[in-house]
Structure formats: C-alpha cells, structure tokens
C-alpha cells in the first residue's frame, strides 16, 4: 500500500509539474522600465519635455530605444492626451509643445504631466509624472562703470511676484558647451534679480555674445532658460585660409607661383621634346 501511495505521489508530482511555469525557461522575465522627464521652457522659444527611458539589467543601466511613450496632461477630473513620441537609439525623446496654452493647469495653477509606457514583451509598463508652475526670466545686458553685467529677473507668471532665493546659472554660448560665468550660485534677491559681471575678452563672431540665464531643474518651475545677445565680446579675427591660394588648398586654389613656374618648366621641357620629334621628321625627309 505504502509503495502504491509513493508511486501515486511521484506520478502526480510529475504530471502537475509539467504545467508549472517554472519549467518554461524561454518565458523571459520582464525588466522594469524607468522613465525620466524634464520640463524645459525657452523664453520666446519652444517648450518641450525631454524624456529618457532606461532599465537596470544585470546591475547595468541600459537605454531603452524604440518604445512608444504617451504624454498626458492631468487635471483633477480629466486626463488630456497630448500625443505620443518614440525613444531614439539613446533611449531619449523630445516632445515639443507649441505653447504653454496647449496644456491646462489645475486649480492651484500647477501643470501636471504624466508620461507613460504601456509595456512590451521585454519591459513592464511604467509611468512618471511631473508638476510645475510657470515662471519667466527676463534677461538683459547693462553697463555700469564700463563693466558689462547680465541682469535677470525671475518671476512667477501667475502671481507676478519675484521668485526669491532661486539659483540661476549664467553662461555664454560656445561651439561645444556653454561657458559659465560669474559665481557658482547666483541666488535671486528679494526682487528676484541677479547681476553677474561679464569678464572682458570673451571672443565672439563680430564681437556678438549670446548669454543664457538658466533656472536649472527647479522642483517648482522646471527648467527655464532666457537668452540675450549683445555685442560686448572681442571680435574673432577669421584666420581661415579657406578662400586663399595655399599649398593645402584644392586644385582650383593652387598658389599662383606654383601655376607659373612648374608650368613654364613643363612647357619649356616639352617644347624641346617637340623640337626633337620635329627633328626626327626632318631627318626622314632630308
């Protein structure tokens, strides 16, 4: 009897285990996707959300490319679909708004945005929400006692009140990366203002410098960037020889001396060769 029972238990265990999901090794475990979203507002320019998708796989952060992200504007009782975007090879995507009027704030004048990923065969669904209020930066260049300054005022759009004690970054646009000027932290005073002196001698094309005043990833206002251009730099003298006749130019810009002397030499030598060949004809006729 005992042996029959044992056999029954073994067979049962075997039969029931066939259907166990643990046996299907090919049914891969889905990874958790992570979304990151940043709100960026360029004064007098575009407004966009920079979205990044990533995952931790085997203790390494992996960028998730080619996934569809939906963007919603969340209100108290409503969810407005703003559109969708797809991540690129770096797992990044930018969703651009034509203006802030495209989205609506809640009763506290806070904008609530949700980005979500539905999930796929490799990654679980994910979502991320951000909230921000609208702020503006007004930047200008002023000159005091022959020193140029970047002056900027940070204001809450709704209350029209200056935003106090927020750190703004002031930088000059350069070819590869902006060049920061002033102190490391330029906190706004009670008027929401900062004043950053501009060093002399910063080069710019025709002396033009474009300064950026940036409120960077603020918890309340997101990223706000204002730009101001002024002719207060040192004009760059163009030292390019691109249009000149040089030894390193293409053939249509060969130096004149190199066109004259070698060609004279070639014509001279080949002139003699032609003369010699003519002499051969003369010989055969004489």
């Amino acid at each position: 009897m005992n042996s029959r029972l044992l056999l029954f238990v073994i067979i049962s265990a075997f039969i029931f285990n066939i259907g166990s999901p643990d046996l299907y090794a090919q049914k891969a475990k889905k990874n958790k996707a992570r979304l990151n979203v940043q709100y960026v507002k360029i004064m007098d320019g575009e407004i966009y959300f920079d979205i990044k998708a990533s995952a931790r796989i085997k203790k390494k952060t992996v960028k998730i490319s080619g996934i569809e992200i939906n963007i919603f504007n969340e209100l108290e009782d409503e969810r407005i679909d703003l559109g969708k975007t797809v991540t690129d090879m770096d797992g990044e995507s930018r969703f651009v708004l034509k203006s802030l009027n495209e989205i609506k704030p809640d009763s506290s004048n806070t904008y609530n945005i949700v980005v979500s990923f539905k999930g796929n065969e490799s990654f679980k669904k994910a979502k991320k929400s951000i909230s921000f209020k609208d702020a503006i930066i007004e930047a200008k260049i002023i000159t005091k006692d022959s020193v140029n300054y970047i002056s900027a005022i940070l204001t809450d759009t709704e209350t029209k009140n200056p935003i106090v004690d927020e750190s703004l970054t002031v930088q000059v646009q350069r070819l590869f990366k902006p060049l920061r000027i002033g102190e490391e932290f330029n906190n706004t005073d009670e008027d929401g203002t900062i004043m950053v002196p501009v060093e002399e001698g910063i080069p710019g094309i025709d002396g033009n410098l474009t300064f950026e005043v940036v409120l960077n990833e603020s918890d309340d206002f997101g990223t706000v960037k204002a730009m101001v251009t002024g002719s207060i730099g040192v004009p760059i003298v163009d030292e390019s020889t691109f249009d000149q006749r040089t030894m390193w130019s293409p053939r249509n810009k060969t130096p004149v001396f190199l066109l004259i002397f070698p060609n004279l030499l070639i014509i001279g030598i080949w002139g003699f060769i032609v003369y010699l060949i003519l002499n051969l004809f003369k010989l055969s006729k004489s």
Partner: protein
C-alpha cells in the same frame, strides 16, 4: 685598328645562344608568375599584400624608387660623359641608354601596380593638384621616358641604316624593319648636323630633367612630416644614391654583356678602370650624404628619431642596414680604390653588391619610417605594426625586375650593343664624315 668587317661582325645583333634562350625563358616564367599574382591582386584587392594602415607603402614603392634611381644612369654616363667629351664612353653609352629606358618604363608600371584601382589612373591627370609631389612625379616620369627614348634613338639612326644594309641580302624582312626605323638615314651633312644638334640638346636637357626626377622622388618622402623622411638632405641624398645605383647596374650589365658577346676587344680594362673610379666617387658622395642623414638626427636624439635609428642600427633592420652600408658602400669603396679591384671580375662582384645594397636601401627608406607614425593607430591587429612583403608582392616585384631585364635583353638582341658607326669613326675605317654622334 680594327677592320670594318670585323667591327660589323662583332657588333651586329646576334641570335640567342642556348644560355640566352634559357635566360629569356626564365625571365618569361617569372613575369607570368607575377602576372598571375597581379591579376589575383586586381580581383581580390590589395588585401593580398601585407600593406595595411601602418605600412601603406611597401615593396612596390621601394622597388619603384630603385627603378627611378637606376634610370639615372642615362643622365650620368651618357650626358655627363658626352658633354665632357670623354672618349672612353663609346662602348658604354648604348648599354647605359638601354638600362635607363628599361628602368624608367618599369618605374612607371610599378607605380601603377601599387595603385589599388589602376583603372583610375587617368584621375591622376584629370584631378591633378600642382601642390602635390605625386603630381610632379606623374609629370616628370613620362617626360623622362620620352627623353630616355630619344637619347637612345637619335644616336641609333646611323647604326640602323648600317643594319638595314647589312641584312639586306640575308634577312630582307629584318632589313626592312631596320630601314623603317632608320628614317632614311644616309649620313648626309644635313642629317648629321640635325642629329648632332639633337643629341646635344638631349644631353643638356636630360641632366636637369634627371635631377628633377630624382629630387621629386625624394620630395615624395621629405614633404611628409615623418621620421626618417623629413629632411632637407633628401634631394641630394637621392641624387647621389641614384648615381650609385645607376653606375652599379651599368657595371653589372657591362660585365655580363662583355662575357656573353665576347666584346673584350671593345670593352677593355680601361673602361672597367674608369667605371670603377666613377663608382668609388659615387659611393663616397653617397656615404657622405648617409652620414649626414643619420648622424645629425642621432646627435639631436629627438625621441621619435632615436627610436627610428635604434631600430635601424640595433633593431630588427640592423642586419639589412649594415649590409647596405658596409656591403653596399664601404666594401666597394675599399676594393675599388685598388687597381686590382678594378679588374672586371672583382668589379662585377662589387657592382652586384652595390645594386643589391641599393635595392634594399630603398626598402629601408620606405618601410621602417611607416612603422613609426606620430599618432599610433589604436585597436589594430598586432600584425599591422609589422611589415614584410607577402608572396603576391614578391612575385609581382620579381616580375617587374624580370620585365626590366627582358626589355634590356630584347633590346640587346635587336640593337647593336656598341655603336657601330661611332666605333668605326673612331677607328677611321669609314670614309664618311667623322664625329658621328653616338
């Protein structure tokens, strides 16, 4: 004084003997092997060579430089000796002219072999930039080919007319060919005046052109900012090196021809003695430039130069380097300084050493420098940092050398090796106007 008939009998072209046939067949076999390798290179691309991102110039370019250098013999022997009225040049000039023509033709062909896409050869002319030394090379090589041909052809005219007459009865077909190329040469005063003037013009012209050719060849290297190449010494260094290679090649060929065609009455000990002195002079000048080329960088001990020189002096290229310097220059200088050393056989051995040294010298100029780039390339296989020619490269290079020798052999087969008319004139055997140019 030699009898005219004997001169004719001795100097008119002769059929190949058994050895000649074996020699020619051997050359053809080598050429065919090279041709097969070249077709394979055309099909598969230059991946069949061992040239990679480091050594992008290899044995083809060093062989090309050797051919260009050897072709200088036309300028040295023919033009210099003619313009300085050295009478002993007569039996040597045609051999020098033939070597010169064969080598410069093969230099042109070798450079095409080095091109991965020879079908784009025309682009070198269509898209030429006068700022590039490669363009100067593309211009000067055809110019030197034409001049070398004319330098051979003008003095040949009287001999072709003699051969036309000589073979009229026995070989009428051959006689007709000689007649065609003789351009109705009768030896009239007008013809002689034109010929003399033309040869003088070529002799004057080929000297600057020869110098330009060697200098441009040197500038191909020295205008690139590379260790071992970036040197103001390079132009003169190449000219003196070409002087050595040319005279060395001439002595080697002269010795073989003299023995094969039994020309001991025409190419005497005097000629070997003179050529020996010329070779010593050439080697001494070249040794001086070599000292300049290596001593100053060694003295300055620039980091890159030092590693380059260390590789040459003590590294894996040291056996080759010292063979070139000692075997190819110092030993010939010592041996040929003595009168006994200037006898035909020791001269031949020394000249052979000089030619071998000259060939390997070009290899040493090209390759070690390329293996020392200023910006080492990252992530490349270790084998790319080394260079030794592949079987394809050896076969193709062997074929180009064989082709040059075949051109020389065939021209010796159908042309008088020693100018007949000039030799007869010198012996006052013909009752024509003297001073026929050759």
């Amino acid at each position: 004084m030699k009898n005219y008939d004997k001169i004719l009998k001795d100097l008119t072209p002769r059929k190949f003997n058994k050895l000649g046939i074996i020699w020619t067949s051997l050359l053809i076999v080598v050429i065919i092997a090279g041709l097969i390798a070249y077709i394979d290179q055309l099909i598969k691309g230059q991946v069949v060579t061992n040239m990679r991102d480091y050594a992008l110039w290899g044995i083809y370019i060093s062989n090309f430089v050797f051919f260009v250098a050897t072709s200088f013999v036309g300028t040295v022997i023919v033009a210099f000796l003619r313009l300085t009225h050295k009478g002993w040049r007569t039996p040597l000039v045609r051999i020098a002219e033939i070597i010169s023509l064969a080598c410069i033709i093969m230099a042109g062909i070798t450079i095409m072999i080095d091109m991965a896409r020879p079908d784009r050869l025309l682009n070198l002319f269509i898209h030429a930039r006068l700022q590039s030394p490669i363009t100067w090379d593309v211009i000067i090589i055809p110019t030197y080919i034409v001049l070398s041909f004319l330098l051979l052809y003008f003095p040949l005219l009287p001999d072709l007319a003699i051969l036309k007459k000589y073979y009229k009865e026995t070989k009428p077909k051959l006689s007709k060919w000689y007649g065609t190329f003789a351009l109705n040469w009768t030896g009239s005063k007008v013809q002689k005046a034109i010929q003399t003037k033309s040869i003088k013009t070529i002799a004057y012209l080929i000297i600057p052109v020869g110098f330009i050719l060697q200098t441009v060849d040197a500038w191909l290297f020295s205008t690139t900012y590379r260790v071992g190449w970036s040197s103001t010494n390079m132009g003169a260094y190449f000219i003196s090196g070409a002087f050595v290679a040319g005279v060395g090649a001439l002595i080697t060929v002269v010795y073989v021809i003299r023995r094969t065609y039994k020309l001991e009455d025409y190419i005497t000990y005097l000629h070997f003695d003179k050529m020996g002195r010329l070779l010593v002079l050439a080697c001494l000048i070249y040794l001086y430039f070599n000292i300049n080329e290596y001593l100053i960088p060694a003295f300055l001990a620039d980091k890159e130069e030092e590693s380059h020189l260390r590789l040459l002096f003590f590294g894996k290229y040291a056996p080759l380097f010292w063979f070139v310097i000692i075997g190819g220059l110092i030993v010939p200088i010592i041996v040929l300084t003595f009168k006994k050393g200037r006898k035909p056989l020791p001269m031949f051995i020394m000249a052979l050493l000089v030619v071998l040294g000259s060939w390997w010298k070009r290899y040493l100029i090209v390759t070690p420098t390329l293996l020392h780039p200023f910006l080492p390339i990252q992530g490349v296989p270790e084998s790319w940092r080394q260079y030794f020619p592949s079987l394809h490269e050896w076969l193709i290079t062997g074929a180009t050398l064989a082709m040059a020798l075949l051109i020389i052999t065939m021209l010796f087969r159908y042309l008088p090796i020693i100018p007949i008319q000039r030799t007869a004139d010198e012996n006052e055997l013909l009752k024509t106007d003297k001073n026929t140019e050759s």
